[in-house]
Every structure is written in structure tokens, then in C-alpha cells.
Symmetry: C2
Subunit: 131 residues, 2 copies
Amino acid sequence: MNDSYLDQIQWTSDGLVPAIAQDHQTGQVLMVAWMNRESLALSIAEQRAVYWSRSRQKLWRKGEQSGNAQHLKDIRLDCDADALLLCVEQVGGIACHTGRQHCFYRRLQDGQWQTVEPVIKDPEQLYGKSP
Amino acid sequence: MNDSYLDQIQWTSDGLVPAIAQDHQTGQVLMVAWMNRESLALSIAEQRAVYWSRSRQKLWRKGEQSGNAQHLKDIRLDCDADALLLCVEQVGGIACHTGRQHCFYRRLQDGQWQTVEPVIKDPEQLYGKSP
């Protein structure tokens, strides 16, 4: 596969693009992370989500520690070519490092961000220590 | 309502946060755009999506030209407080400026981004001219 599909993406000045992961069965938006060229190419080659960790400045195979990988079902590019949508199968049913199903567990209610989703699994069990 | 919910967001160095709009009924991810403090506060006050247009450097009330506004049903913040998820009612059933239901109409197939969603309404009808 040549790299023209990579060249068509409008990367940020840091060489990144935001990637939304959505559960392919439930439609739930699981998380948003970032990809660079290498991580997107690896995601396609390995058919699993591989992100670029901005905080750690390294490739991050989703689930590499927790086991909660994301298997790729579909990848979409948006109209202005600066965002990706991944449809994934979320292994273990937990996408968030806090042990919740997904990362968007805080809802704006009465002017405050209120946690409205339960922890499914203790992060210590996911990572061997608190995240 | 005080501004503490705004202070809890991890804004980029440009003062922005990415906002994903999802159809509240179908779960379809419609688009990704950006918000600044003012646009988020206005979105909540007006109960419709108001974005910050990076290209035009101005507030952008989604649907102000096309009529295809997004009425807010729910706003979520993610675990690291640097992304928003809006559940919306998409007026007119068209979120994309190309006249498609949503912006993620290109799928990676055989190493190429291929358009897999139809135009529902001619952009000239939406905007009075081609976008």
C-alpha cells in the first residue's frame, strides 16, 4: 500500500491528527486520541488502534498494558481531512484508563461536570497500579 | 452559572478544545469542530452548538447559513478534560457542508479514501453558492 492516503491528511504542525474511537456495535464514542503518520500506518497494518501519546511522546498500542485493545473495523476521514473516525471492537468493554466503559463520563449538570458513569474495573487491576 | 466548568477544561495553547457532535438518536458521529470559552458558554446559553471557526477566526453558530442547527441534548467532558462530546439533534439531517448527513463520508478502502455516502442536498441550496 503506498502512502498517498497519508499525504491526503491535513496533519497539525506537530504532525498529528485527532482520532475518535467509536464502538462499532453500540455506537458509543469511547475516546479521542492522536495519531501521527507512523501510528496510523501501524494501526492499519495491525488492524488495531495505535495512537501517539503526546504526554509520553511515544507510540501507544491501545491495550498494551491493560489488554483492552481496540480492533479496527472501519476508518473514516472527514470532509476537511483533519479528523479520523475509527469504528472499533473494544476488547474488555473498557476504553478509559479510569476503568470506565468510555472516557466521556462527566456530564454538564447544574453548571458542573458531574461523573455519571460507574467504574467497571479498578484501574489497579488494569495497570497493576493507579494510573 | 459561574465559570468554574470552563476553568476545568484543558484548553490548547490557542484556547481551544475539540468538540465531537453526535446524533442523539442514531449515535452517528456527525462532525468535529473546535470551541473556545466564549463559544462553549454561548452553546450552553443558547442550547445549540456554537463553534469557533479556525479558518475564519470567528464564532460560528452551526446552521447560521444553512439552517441546519444542532440543538444540544447533552454535553460531556472526557477523562483528561481536553475533549468535549455533544449529543445533538441535527436539524435537517445534514451536518456536513458538502450536503451529506455527516462529515466522515470517506472510508479507507484498498489503500484509498473512498467516498461512501451520498449527497442529500446540493450545497448550493444550503448556502446559496458552492462552499
